[in-house]
Amino acid sequence: MLELSLVLKNAGKSLKKTGKQMRKNYAAYLFLLPKLILFTLFIAIPVVWAFVLSFQEYRITEANLFAGLDNYKQVFESEAFRKALINTTIYTVVTVPFNVITALIAASFIHTLGRFAQNFFRAAFYLPTVTSMVIIAMVWRWMYNYEFGLFNHVVGWFGMEKINWLGQTDSALSAIIIMQMLIPFGVGIILYMASMSSISDSLYEAATIDGANAFQKWFKITVPMLTPSTIYLTLLSTIGSFQVFTQIILMTGGGPGYATETLVHLIYKTGFRDFEFGLAAAQSVVLFFIIFVISVLQYRVLNRKG
């Protein structure tokens, strides 16, 4: 009993302290209020609502019906979801390491250049990031065109047979992956360059005295010192890759067959074509947990290595 009263007393004290601090910083809280309202309205409520909806059968003009775990059962039994999950995983496993590593290498080279050249390459590599994926996808669809696309022209120079890049099951996903790999990871390059600037010169000077060559300095100093950026970029890139959508809907529609079906494209179709919002919400929740678990694992593994 005595313990309980002590706990309550402490809790009361803590609340009082928090209240006092809030009163003290009221100006900051008031400035944060509009953002908090927007966040609550457009992010927090929809996310919570999606969780609730995943246990319901969505009805448009009447109250939703409670569906228990039916939606989740459908998700895990669905062949389309299984194929979409496999495709999305392959896409992520190939593109994320490639993009992060190439960004690191590109940033390392650019960092050694003069100021003018640095600015030029920084802008050049960042340009695709500010270009709409719709435009990029349309250009790439042209490049993959069987009859007059750029790739089949190049293939022709080597006397090889033309490839139906987006029309064959065995090449369509690879074509989408190649496209993603060849679009420079602008954010990564910019972030790595910024982080490289903050590495102390004394580390490199000490390594030089110890007789380290340029590669050793890069591998033993630069790469480890960039670990926080690498963790951030890997997480960012993984989340983005699991949400791949625009290029799929514009270039293949998920086909041929289910060769390029991805999770977000499937969720979109389930929700806005089939109007099964309960099932789409359940698919979204599963995707959320997949991304969450992978992000935590990536963070722990990379952080430990760092």
Binding site: L30, I60, T61, E62, G167, T169
Partner: protein, 452 residues
């Protein structure tokens, strides 16, 4: 004191933010007076239709393709003081998705140009009360002026859920310049058998510049969920996707399998179609037939809008032909019906005004005008009797095909069924599966949906 003012200023900012957000959700759209007359705002969505002759305004030089509806709105507003009609311009390609999102968010327009076959709204929406029935606004005599298949397309459970304003059919479009270049005679009256069609397609496949590579192909089309240009070919031997009572999957019948495989073999065996045939590139397929700089395909099946396009935007020397006949000996095509649908209304008085406007844009004169200008067939008998295609032999030929029309099955799960079938068809057309294997794969998945 200074601190107090700061606090007041910030409180005001927060309140202003909340007011702005609250205003975003304001949905009041009208009022009804004591006599039951409604005044307020009606929202209508529409896609681009046709521009006035000579109008080349706009970024793409296509002119104002909404002027017809804008003029009808102005007329209606003038005769109905206090009623305002807001036109929301939506590209056709975005219409189903945008409408789907708005339906889900219960922020649908009052009127939209959609059918109830499942592209944007479905039978499930009718069952959930999203679509209003229009029976109260039509007399039997008025309904008698519509073609029966047009009314059927908007009828569910004995009630009318839209006003049909157009009929379309899929037709074969033949580029006569390429026929001439290859020295091939087009089919007489656009009528032919499957064997004649294959022979023609093979002859139209040729190497134009003598470099050893084929430059022109006889035929092409694409396979994509929601699109049916290729489907009449699958019906020519008597095959159809579902049984009449919608309880069985029947695209695995020998008649359907044979027809599907035969069309795929036109590319895979006869090599009279480009590798891209059966892909998902709708625009690219049309460009290959219609674009003056390409013209690499001599024959393609398209809906009637393409006839207007080949007469105006992409001037082409072409003719309209039937799909070839198969073992049934009867020509067949797939048709569609367009029209206006009214979404759920809270007030009977508003519903009456909305219906009045819908009728005003669907009367005989408007359907006649739309037929002439927009490349569709009128859904009203009285408009068709005015012979809108007297000076347009290609459209008149396409209209003859209306009697060959088979409608797609109207199953509540059709969109999912369609996707299962079309995804398997894609694999047949790229040679990864035979028609028999593909339809055997589709069968259990489709029948699981039919059984629900």
């Amino acid at each position: 004191m200074k601190r107090k003012w700061k606090l007041i200023l910030m409180m005001m900012m927060a309140i202003a933010t909340m007011i702005v957000l609250a205003a975003c959700g304001d949905d009041s759209d009208g009022s009804t007076d004591e006599d039951g007359n409604w005044t307020g705002t009606i929202t209508i969505w529409d896609g681009p239709r046709w521009a006035k002759e000579g109008d080349t305004s706009g970024e793409e030089g296509k002119g104002n393709q909404y002027f017809w509806l804008e003029e009808k709105i102005a007329e209606f507003e003038k005769s109905h003081p206090g009623v305002k009609i807001e036109l929301v311009k939506v590209p056709w390609a975005e219409m189903p998705d945008k409408l789907g999102v708005n339906i889900a968010g219960q922020s649908w327009p009052d009127i939209a140009p959609v059918d109830i076959s499942g592209s944007a709204v479905s039978i499930d929406h009718i069952e959930q009360g999203v679509i209003e029935s229009l029976n109260d606004f039509f007399t039997e005599e008025e309904l008698g002026d519509f073609y029966e298949n047009a009314l059927n397309a908007y009828t569910y459970d004995g009630k009318l859920y839209g006003i049909p304003n157009s009929l379309t059919v899929h037709t074969m479009l033949l580029n006569l310049d390429l026929f001439e270049e290859a020295g091939v005679e087009p089919p007489e009256n656009g009528e032919w058998t499957w064997d004649e069609f294959v022979e023609t397609a093979e002859k139209l496949t040729f190497d134009r510049d003598g470099d050893g590579e084929i430059d022109v192909y006889g035929f092409s089309t694409y396979i994509l969920p929601g699109y049916y240009e290729a489907w009449p070919f699958f019906y020519i031997n008597g095959g159809k996707p579902l049984s009449d009572d919608l309880s069985e999957f029947t695209f695995d019948s020998p008649e359907a399998i044979e027809a599907i495989q035969a069309l795929a073999d036109l590319k895979l065996v006869n090599e009279a179609a480009p590798v891209s045939m059966g892909g998902a590139d709708v625009g690219g397929t049309f460009q290959a037939w219609a674009n003056e700089e390409q013209r690499t395909v001599a024959m393609e099946p398209w809906a009637t809008w393409a006839i207007t396009s080949a007469q105006t935007a992409n001037p082409t020397n072409f003719m309209v032909a039937n799909y070839p006949t198969g073992s049934t000996g009867e020509p067949i095509t797939i048709g569609g019906v367009g029209g206006w649908t009214m979404f759920k209304q809270d007030s009977d008085a508003k519903k009456k005004v909305v219906a009045e406007f819908m009728k005003s844009i669907s009367d005989t004169d408007e359907q006649y005008l739309m037929s002439q200008s927009y490349g569709i067939f009128p859904a009203r008998i009285s408009a068709a009797e005015k012979e809108p295609f007297a000076d347009n032999p290609e459209m008149a030929r396409a209209q003859e095909m209306s009697s060959q029309v088979a409608m797609l099955p109207r199953h509540p799960e059709w969109k999912k069924i369609d996707e299962i079938i079309q995804r398997e068809l894609q694999l047949v057309f790229n040679g990864e599966k035979t028609a028999e294997e593909a339809m055997a794969t589709a069968k259990p998945e489709v029948e699981a949906l039919l059984g629900e």
